[in-house]
Amino acid sequence: MRKETWKELTIGTINLDAGNSVKNLTGTWRSGKKPQFIEEHCIQCFFCWLYCPHFAILVEDGEVKGINYDYCTGCGICSVECPTKEKAIVMVEEEAELAEGSGK
């Protein structure tokens, strides 16, 4: 992507393309671990959605449905905050996951 020269920038560091962080795929530097969603354990409390710093919890029709790996950095907060006895989000090794061919 071509980056602007200083002359092309808007005055005062104003960013008129607000919301352009969607272009910044934070999932590309994931930690090495990734969260795995186990739907049958989920009580739809939305704690994970609330705590995820990257807005990476997928919600469809008002229900938590999984993880958006384009943005998930693998920080593990969702898994820690998940309150169910048998966690509905568990952190797994990225390589193992990829090897098994599931997930993104």
């Binding site: 980056k3 200083w6 005062g12 607000a18």
Partner: protein, 393 residues
């Protein structure tokens, strides 16, 4: 109606504030600028201004309020001094980086330690690289006039950079003077309507203000920030001229006093320049060819113009009301000496620090400086580049 009024420096600033009536005034009181804030608060309580008056818990917060209000789209001002300006430090850079045309009256006061409430330029000189335009005033009239012009300069579309107006603590802030206060409507007209550029309150356009830059954009943004201050000389000059046409008192980058055939020159800013003028008059009556150059605009520094004015002098003394520990010389001196470097023929030049913590500088001190300059001019040699005035050695 334009009228003569007896006001001190703080009241002169407050009077300009009343006339301009900015949208937001945020300030935390600190000696010797307290009376500005106090008077504005009284204007507000008496219904004489419509602007929002915010008195937060510190100067850091006061400048933060200014930044928020200016980002929202308001015309904004503050006033402070010394430690108060120091507490604003990180926010000063942010105001400049965001190109917000905030105007601040700074009642120049020394920096602790030791604690001292009197006038010197250590506070604003310390902020000289924060990106603010700096204008200094010799007396109450200039403080009033500069403060009005500051809005025009800061808000000009080519500039959009915060401006601070300095006036010496106590010597100006607390001294009564008869000043010409211009007609309310004429001042309002001169300052004009404020047009914010990207106001956050305009919810029909989405935007982000103050987001993070990594290594790939920070440098470009900082370079683009410089445009404002680099464009400002033309605007400062035009506004100073227009002010003169309208109100009869014209302003430039500096004032020259009896410089026409001068061979020796004393450079000094702010209130001390007034005393220096008396000394120059006495020296002239003794047949000595001494003149004064009083810088008004310190940022952007008018290097070229000052160098042109000084290049034919035999000897120049630059007087600084602050020190710059470990530097080649105090701020005004290093700027001027550097500006003269490109001239093959240039004057001998010396630097004297004076007036720290409000220490008096009198006519006799300026005359001592002049006799030192005479000796330098005669011998063509500078024995000591740096010295102090009225210090117990």
């Amino acid at each position: 109606m334009s009228a003569l009024k007896t006001l001190n420096g703080n009241q002169s600033i407050a009077e300009a504030v009343r006339q301009i009536d900015p949208d937001v005034l945020a300030a935390y009181p600190i000696t010797p600028s307290t009376a500005i804030v106090e008077t504005i608060a009284k204007f507000k309580a008496d219904g004489m201004i419509t602007g929002e008056f915010v008195c937060p818990e510190s100067e850091h917060s006061a400048m933060s309020v200014c930044i928020g209000a200016a980002s929202a789209g308001g015309r904004v001002m503050t006033a402070t001094a010394s430690q108060g300006l120091a507490l604003m430090w990180e926010m000063l850079y942010i105001a400049a980086g965001l190109r917000l045309p905030i105007v601040a009256a700074i009642v120049n006061r020394s920096m602790s330690a030791p604690i001292n409430i009197h006038g010197d330029h250590s506070d604003t000189m310390g902020a000289r690289d924060s990106g603010w335009i700096q204008i200094y005033s010799e007396n109450c009239q200039e403080a009033y006039d500069n403060f009005i012009q500051a809005f025009r300069i800061a808000e000009h579309l080519d500039v959009r950079t915060p401006v601070l107006v300095g006036l010496d603590g106590f010597i100006i802030s607390h001294s009564m003077e008869v000043i010409q206060v211009e007609d309310d409507d004429e001042v309002k007209k001169f300052v004009g309507e404020y047009m914010p550029l990207y106001p956050l309150l305009d919810t029909s356009h989405k935007m982000t203000v103050g987001s993070i830059d990594f290594t790939d954009y920070y440098f470009e943004h900082k370079r683009s920030q410089l445009e404002g201050i680099e464009n400002s000389p033309t605007v400062i000059e035009a506004v100073g001229k227009e002010f003169g046409q309208k109100f009869g008192r014209e302003y430039g980058f500096f004032e020259e006093y009896r410089m026409d055939d001068a061979e020796l020159c004393i450079v000094v800013m702010s209130s001390a320049a007034g005393t220096c003028k008396d000394a120059i008059d006495e020296l002239r009556s003794e047949g000595k060819k001494v003149g004064l150059l009083k810088p008004r605009v310190f940022r952007p520094f008018p290097h070229k113009k000052i160098a042109e004015a000084l290049k034919e002098m035999k000897a120049v003394a630059v007087l600084d009301r602050c020190s710059s520990p470990g530097a080649f010389g105090a701020p005004l001196f290093t700027e001027i000496r550097s500006g003269l470097y490109d001239y093959a023929e240039r004057p001998r030049i010396v630097n004297y620090v004076y007036g720290l913590g409000g220490r008096d500088i009198k006519v006799e001190h300026f005359k001592e400086v002049a006799s030192k300059l005479e000796k330098i001019a005669e011998t063509g040699t500078v024995e000591e580049i740096y010295g102090y005035i009225n210090l117990r050695e």
